[in-house]
């Protein structure tokens, strides 16, 4: 059973503690949402899960083995990381960008082979970006770009996907599309951890949410339990409206508590 687990993860940036003793388990076939106010430590947590940050305490375990003891190559093959505001420095074509996802599978000096091309094609199909193949990345719309960046991650056939705000800046149609894609990947066995600011989307798509605030896990579990009025008030300082549709519960962030108190 594939599993990425944080155990008592403690991280400091420039001497300031950012994460204090965070525990989280991500298993195969799960789509887990990481939510929390700005500055809660979500991005730091994701980077640490990807093995990109030194830990001050605790550890990350990949299948019960400390991540720090795995090889760079194994990590790269099994874990894909999609940073917030992913930069693409040169005006690469979509094909060349998605091909970069195959790097962990290439032998030194070897050119991409048939298996690599097949994986790239599959990633393009899964994200419905096949038609963009020869387009330079700077000419893509934000919605196209988000899907292409996701395709880059999928091309490496990772077991685990760590995505930092993949729907930031997208209109509802494209945000829904990206979330559906992540849901499909989880349904086909991938372990997906996604940082989200849109609480409605988080509640709609994730089977489990983790609420991070001030570097600690404040709540973890079913979306509507995690996004309860008490938790939202304590962590975000907001109130939400709750409802039900298609047999599911939803919520919409509604008002700031400090603004209400002043009235």
């Amino acid at each position: 059973m594939i599993q990425l687990r944080a155990q008592g993860m403690t991280v400091a940036l420039g001497g300031r503690p950012v994460l204090s003793g965070v525990d989280l388990t991500l298993g195969a076939g799960q789509l887990v949402g990481l939510v929390g106010p700005n500055g809660a430590g979500k991005t730091t947590f994701l980077r640490a899960m990807a093995g990109l940050m030194p830990l001050r305490g605790g550890q990350v375990l990949l299948d019960e083995r400390p991540l720090a003891e795995t090889s760079r190559k194994e990590r790269a093959r099994r874990i894909a990381y999609l940073p917030q505001r992913q930069q693409v420095e040169w005006p690469l074509s979509v094909r060349r960008l998605v091909e970069l996802g195959r790097i962990p599978h290439l032998e030194p000096w070897a050119k991409p082979g048939g298996a690599d091309r097949a994986a790239v094609e599959q990633a393009l199909r899964a994200t419905e970006t096949t038609g963009l193949l020869e387009r330079p990345v700077p000419t893509l719309s934000d919605g196209e770009r988000a899907r292409v960046l996701l395709a880059r991650c999928l091309a490496g056939d990772p077991e685990i996907l760590l995505a930092d705000e993949p729907v930031a800046g997208l209109d509802p149609y494209h945000a829904l599309k990206v979330m559906e894609l992540l849901g499909l990947r989880a349904a086909s066995g991938m372990a997906v951890l996604v940082v989200l600011h849109d609480l409605a989307l988080a509640a709609r798509f994730c089977e489990r949410l983790v609420l991070l605030a001030d570097g600690r896990v404040r709540a973890e579990g079913a979306p509507l339990e995690v996004l309860s009025p008490a938790h939202l008030a304590e962590s975000y300082g907001i109130r939400a409206q709750y409802g039900q549709a298609d047999g599911r519960h939803y919520l919409v962030p509604w008002s700031r508590l400090d603004a209400e108190a002043r009235r």
């Binding site: 760079r72 190559k73 790269a76 040169w90 005006p91 690469l92 790097i103 962990p104 387009r135």
Partner: protein, 342 residues
């Protein structure tokens, strides 16, 4: 045409293979052309004809000892500069980076000038290029010391600028203290950069460093590709970025340091060539490396031929010619950049 549309039309055309082949043919032609021009006024046909006459020995001497090392050096130094420029631009993800940026070429020039100033270059033939190499290695050691092992890209650039300024200051000091106008002239002439009158010994001294540096840079092509996605993502794709960074810097310092040690400073080749060829390979840093080496060789050989064809009383120095071509081009890049930002 908008910037987006212009890169759309460029990226659809990836012609790396054809361009490499074309440049290869051009280089072969330029190489023979380089053998055919020179101060002795012997063209290639005349050389071949007279190679069988009584001048056979003189002709062979001119070819073997003067023109052949010059052509091979142009090939070697040009490709070193082109490759180093492409590698450094890929590492720093900045199309305006120049191989001299990290301080190795300025320090190599200082090292070489020091041997001229202290008269070591008169003691044995290879003192000057050895001084240059020593300067380049000292520069990388200092860079490592100043920027630190884990130093970020910005720290590296700033440390490189500091090293360059210091090398320039010390070079100026040596010029200032030079005992005679003749010594000043010797140093200045050397600093201008030239392929003329270099020996095979100097060539053999530089070649191993240039080749080793080239291998270091070429081996990191894939990491440079990954760096297009930023440092975090490159690391998540399995690269040890600190190691990549120092391998590329060592590669740049070895190639450029060795090149400068033999020829003096030849600017702008390492800036202009990668920039021109980048669209041809669809902006892929790894594919640009080898092509840029070919382009650098072609540009250097062509410039070195052109300056010999100019009807001037004194032969122009190669560094002067490349700067005369390169500086306006750099200006053009800045103006283009301004338009794309506005």
């Amino acid at each position: 045409m908008t910037a987006a549309a212009s890169c759309a039309s460029l990226a659809r055309r990836e012609h790396g293979g054809i361009a490499a082949l074309a440049l290869g043919v051009v280089i072969v032609l330029l190489f023979f052309a380089s053998l055919a021009v020179g101060r002795s006024g012997l063209g290639l046909v005349a050389l071949v004809q007279r190679a069988h006459g009584e001048d056979a020995q003189t002709v062979a001497l001119i070819l073997r000892e003067i023109r052949l090392p010059r052509a091979i050096l142009g090939l070697l130094v040009g490709s070193a500069l082109g490759l180093a420029g492409a590698a450094l631009q890929g590492l720093l993800r900045n199309p305006l980076a120049e191989p001299g940026l990290i301080g190795a070429s300025g320090a190599a020039a200082l090292g070489a000038v020091a041997t001229l100033y202290f008269g070591l270059s008169g003691l044995f033939a290879l003192a000057l290029p050895l001084g240059g190499l020593a300067g380049a290695f000292l520069a990388v050691a200092l860079l490592y010391g100043i920027a630190g092992r884990e130093g970020g890209v910005l720290t590296l650039i700033l440390a490189g600028i500091a090293l360059n300024s210091f090398s320039a200051a010390l070079t100026a000091l040596l010029l200032n203290l030079a005992p005679s106008p003749y010594a000043v002239q010797e140093i200045v002439h050397w600093l201008l950069g030239s392929l003329a009158d270099r020996s095979f010994d100097q060539l053999w001294l530089a070649a191993p460093f240039i080749l080793a540096g080239a291998i270091l840079m070429l081996a990191d092509g894939r990491a440079l590709d990954a760096l297009a996605l930023g440092e975090d993502t490159a690391q998540s794709l399995g690269f040890h970025l600190v190691a990549v960074r120092w391998r590329v810097i060592a590669g740049v310092a070895m190639t450029v340091g060795a090149a400068v040690s033999v020829t003096g400073v030849i600017g702008f080749v390492g800036l202009v060539v990668p920039h021109l060829l980048r669209p041809v390979v669809g902006y892929r840093p790894s594919a640009l490396l080898a092509l840029s080496a070919l382009g650098g060789a072609a540009l250097t050989l062509a410039s070195d031929i052109a300056l010999r064809l100019l009807p001037s009383q004194f032969e122009l120095k190669l560094g002067v010619v490349t700067a005369l071509i390169g500086a306006p081009f750099f200006l053009y890049l800045v103006l283009k950049f301004r338009r794309s930002v506005a």
